[in-house]
Symmetry: C2
Subunit: 298 residues, 2 copies
């Protein structure tokens, strides 16, 4: 859509997998995906997609990561899920290697940008990832709501039950602790007495196990409450859901929507992402068009 996006590289560092793509205009011309390690592997993968695309060098590189970060310095801060990335100066390192401007942002914000630039293209919406954790990205009037330091959209850490179960963030009763995949897996494993993934807990619920069913129903109720809260605060045109747990939307969706129905005035429009796993990757590609100047390359 914009000049800077001609021949751009996008990098989506996930908790388990990293995706790298070369994009020309709106078309992915080359891509790699591999288990998440550190910056050396990302540098190498960028080299590979450049070669596959037949480009000498990219116009820009955009990187999304599921970690707290210093946007001004382009550095990832301490994050237990990404041990190889603690303190890594992402933008400096990649700028040095590929001699082009590099942009870094939160992965859920990237997914929202992906929807804005390549997906449904609405101007007022929220993107919500329902996965191991729960994250969000907010667009208002066609612009990203970044917050004071770029950390806005932390919908997973709104406290719904002050006396609820502990969250990885140190607080209690966060939405993520009630409805996130990691929590569902942990609480399901405890309740059923065997090690289960979130997907397996959902499958057990679907097959009628009462313990799993109660846990899953509670998670859906909490997610619906979180969506209703977003709706009242932001009045988005649309709420877009992505992330692994939406793979079971046929079973989970009606429960989530029933909860939204009792907790929101009006009827929020809710749909699943049409970009699949690529929302964050495509958003990373489009970062140069959306990152505010104070956080852009210097």
């Amino acid at each position: 859509m914009i000049g800077a996006m001609a021949r751009a590289i996008g990098v989506d560092i996930g908790g388990t997998r990293t995706r790298v793509a070369a994009v020309e205009g709106e078309r992915i011309v080359a891509r790699r995906a591999f288990p998440t390690r550190g910056i050396d592997e990302v540098r190498e993968a960028i080299g590979e997609v450049l070669a596959a695309a037949g480009w000498a060098r990219p116009a820009t590189i955009g990187v999304g990561a599921p970690a707290p970060m210093d946007m001004r310095e382009g550095r990832i801060l301490g994050c237990p899920n990404l041990p190889h990335w603690n303190g890594v100066e992402v933008t400096k390192e990649l700028q040095r290697a590929f001699a082009c401007p590099v942009y870094l942002a939160n992965d859920a914000t990237c997914a929202a940008i992906g929807e804005l630039a390549f997906g449904h293209r609405r101007r007022d919406f929220v993107y919500l990832t329902w996965s191991t954790g729960i994250g969000g990205g907010i667009v208002s009037g066609g612009r990203v709501v970044w917050g004071a330091t770029g950390q806005a959209g932390e919908i997973g850490h709104i406290v719904l039950r002050p006396d609820g179960p502990p969250c990885g963030c140190g607080k209690k009763g966060c939405l993520e602790a009630l409805a996130g995949g990691a929590s569902l897996a942990r609480r399901g494993s405890e309740a059923l007495g065997e090690a289960l993934s979130a997907r397996e807990v959902v499958e057990r619920a679907q097959r009628g196990d009462p313990h799993a069913h109660a846990l899953v129903a509670d998670a859906c109720r909490a997610l619906g409450q979180g969506i209703a809260i977003l709706w009242e605060i932001l009045e988005p045109e649309l709420i877009v859901l992505g992330g692994g747990l939406t793979g079971s939307w046929g079973f989970l969706g009606p429960q989530v929507l029933a909860s939204v129905g009792t907790m929101a005035r009006g009827s929020p429009e809710i749909e699943l992402t049409r970009l699949g796993d690529d929302a964050g990757l495509l958003g990373a590609v489009a970062l140069p068009d959306y990152v505010p100047p104070q956080w852009g390359p210097r």
Copy 2:
């Protein structure tokens, strides 16, 4: 600050009082305040402040109201608190009377705009009214977050306790039903067996009445939870509080802040408005600079 604001009229329609002011640049040159009635009284008061200011006619008129509204049509929709305003075509009526562009917006959004244009002038903040009801206005990157139809910022209607007390909006356990002045007055009167205002319930709490104390403590906890939720979702630089209940901030503030402390990661900056009761009035004056073109005068 901007040309359109030379010789502007601001109108703040409150649940009990209406304020009208003539503002030149940043200075209020004439003002009127009177018990809220209908549009005839507003028209008359505008005439009076124009005469007092010595203006033939205003450049613009901005109106804030605590009611749902159709921004496109400049019309106030059904609102039990404002019986004289149901269905009134505010912008058309005033445009006809004063032959200038007229703008209409929600009063809490106006208060946020007042802070942006005349108050602390931060670029990422939330304004929160803690009064009979609870409302909010959101500014991100120096721009108002309006939502799809201009109704964003309804922080009073986020559900914190799905099984909590009924709210005037028809839902249960909304922040407003837990911490708003009307709810505090009603629940306090029930608990103490006599008709009390919210201010009186707070005074009883301050003097050590255990029932009043428990109710007020619960309201402060809920407000703190709401503020923490805003912080996680929006990461504002600042949260500004206004409204009648902040008059007792010396007693209430520490309880609210303690709740924020346990429910937000990080330390949100929170301060009371420095514009007193004029935040909404001044924001109404500045509306021409902030209302998006699709909702402006035609």
